[in-house]
């Protein structure tokens, strides 16, 4: 017997801390502040929380992080889980929250992430920590980093499909244009394609402005059964579908350098939602590096395989284009807080579907997609959300 999760749960609260350089707050504090704000937004008291999902931060990790956090907040959940799927974590958390609620394990799930990798680690410590994601025997000894993995994937895409560096750069330009409309974003000064191409080469063909930020911050959501959703102060946003795909941890073990497991997570999410890519009013997809956005848009079905480059040109992924992408500014210009990074793509989707996007509001947004990716093109999770009208 299976449980149909489409329309089964809703997000009724969101919380976002400030992002950027926050030297006065540690990882746990940011996680707590995000949680506090999400509960206020949902009109809930902490005693109402009976499910908790966290992820381990870089700066203050704990072996049992969710248990540590429940102790810190003096919340005593009956469902308590620390997830670790890198940048896909936040979306895999929503699927697990929905599963726990719809199987009667708990009723009100708080998902909260926070980290301060920008202020809480030195450059050397960051380098050291990031290399822990590499295979210790077969990658680490070569001195390569995560960026060179993404760079090799970018070059393979250029070779296989004729994608250009200008097309990669367009993704950074569009993200910055959205961030310019978002008072909460870290980097808001518009940039040009020439600025991206003139920025320092990090690992060719990727330049510094092809790479995301590195920020402090935290964000949280509250998930409850859809039948309770009308009882909360803010407009509920409903879970319509979710899918995951996991092919590898280390890039050299991937099935393809140019196609990712988003080609499986996307169709799984669309099938659950009973929808198509063309039904989406916007998409917030993981943009740790600009080339990843092109690949995800292809693999999720927004354009034919190999045509991501032309799809992102001429403002097509900006407000007013056929598919606004990362309306908050994304990891490239809003913030990249480490593992909590995709949580802001999720809270932004809720903001858009509530109609609270202000200057960056997508007109009549009823359905949106959020996609997270962890590791080096490794873990993929796709979530489709909608308003009451989309149910």
């Amino acid at each position: 017997m299976t449980v149909d999760l489409r329309g089964s749960v809703a997000i009724v609260g969101i919380g976002e801390t400030d992002v950027g350089v926050l030297p006065e707050q540690g990882s746990t504090e940011l996680c707590a502040e995000a949680a506090r704000l999400a509960l206020i937004n949902a009109g809930l008291h902490k005693k109402d929380v009976d499910g908790l999902i966290t992820c381990n931060p870089w700066v203050e990790p704990h072996l049992y992080h969710a248990e540590m956090f429940s102790e810190y907040m003096q919340i005593f959940p009956k469902f308590c889980m620390t997830l670790n799927a890198g940048g896909a974590t936040s979306l895999t958390a929503v699927l697990r929250a929905a599963s726990a609620i719809m199987t009667g394990v708990c009723e009100t799930v708080l998902i909260t992430h926070g980290d301060n990798p920008r202020s809480g680690m030195t450059g050397a410590e960051t380098g050291q920590k990031m290399t822990t994601t590499l295979n210790p025997q077969f990658e680490l000894p070569y001195g390569v980093g995560l960026t060179s993995g993404y760079a090799m994937a970018a070059r393979a895409h250029m070779h296989q499909y004729g994608t250009t560096q200008e097309q990669f750069a367009q993704v950074a330009v569009s993200a910055r244009n959205h961030a310019a409309l978002n008072p909460a974003a870290e980097m808001r000064t518009p940039i040009t394609i020439d600025d991206v191409l003139a920025s320092k080469v990090v690992s060719d063909p990727l330049h510094a402005l092809n790479c995301s930020l590195w920020s402090d911050g935290g964000a949280a959501v509250v998930v409850v059964a859809a039948e309770r959703a009308k009882d909360f102060p803010n407009k509920p946003v409903f879970f319509l579908g979710c899918g995951e795909g996991h092919w590898h941890e280390h890039l050299f073990q991937t099935r393809s350098l140019t196609t990712t497991a988003a080609s499986e997570s996307g169709p799984r999410a669309f099938e659950m939602a009973g929808m198509q890519p063309s039904d989406m009013d916007f998409a917030n997809v993981y943009d740790c590096f600009t080339n990843v956005v092109l690949v995800e848009l292809e693999d999720l079905g927004f354009c034919p395989k190999g045509e991501g480059g032309s799809f992102v040109e001429n403002g097509n992924i900006e407000l007013g284009g056929s598919l606004p992408v990362n309306t908050h500014g994304g990891l490239l210009s809003h913030s990249h807080t480490g593992h909590p990074g995709s949580m802001f793509a999720l809270t932004e989707a809720v903001t858009q579907l509530r109609g609270d996007g202000g200057a960056r509001q997508v007109a009549d947004a009823q359905v949106g997609l959020v996609h997270g990716q962890g590791g080096v093109l490794s873990s993929h999770a796709t979530l489709i959300l909608g308003t009451q009208a989309a149910l």
């Binding site: 070569y142 980093g145 060179s148 070779h159 073990q253």
Partner: protein, 137 residues
């Protein structure tokens, strides 16, 4: 060029990877072949990842392959490599099938190309550990 091998990461062989590193130490690139389904795998495992047979056998590989993709790394991201940049990070499809991450030596950045034939060379890192690198074949 000076090098500081002590600060670069050194692989710690496990029981299942020990034959691979023992091979590198004597100038052999060794791969596991499955005697049940003929799958060739890297990195080493206790079972065949193709069919879960335990009949995996170590054989000396050709040491040859082709470039799948590359990146010239200009900003070092791991400790111990600051004097080595820039260097060519490469993904190589070995002639036997598996893909290896490695670094390409003795090749200018504008000389590397897709499907370029390469062959393994070995660089000793410590008394016990030798690392497989590649160069144009």
């Amino acid at each position: 060029m000076s090098s500081k091998p002590m600060v670069k990461p050194v692989p710690k062989p496990t029981p299942e990877t020990r034959p691979f590193w023992d091979g590198c130490a004597v100038g052999e690139l060794r791969l596991q072949h499955c005697n049940s389904c003929q799958h060739v795998q890297y990195p080493p495992r206790k079972l065949c990842s193709g069919c879960f047979s335990q009949e995996v056998e170590w054989r000396v590989a050709s040491g040859r392959g082709k470039v799948l993709s590359w990146s010239m790394v200009t900003a070092p991201s791991a400790p111990g490599f600051h004097e080595e940049v820039p260097f060519l990070s490469v993904m190589i499809r070995l002639d036997e099938g598996p893909v290896m991450l490695s670094v390409l030596r003795n090749c200018a950045g504008d000389a590397v190309d897709f499907d370029m034939p390469v062959k393994v060379i070995f660089e000793q890192r410590t008394e016990e550990i030798t690392i497989p690198y590649f160069e144009p074949a």
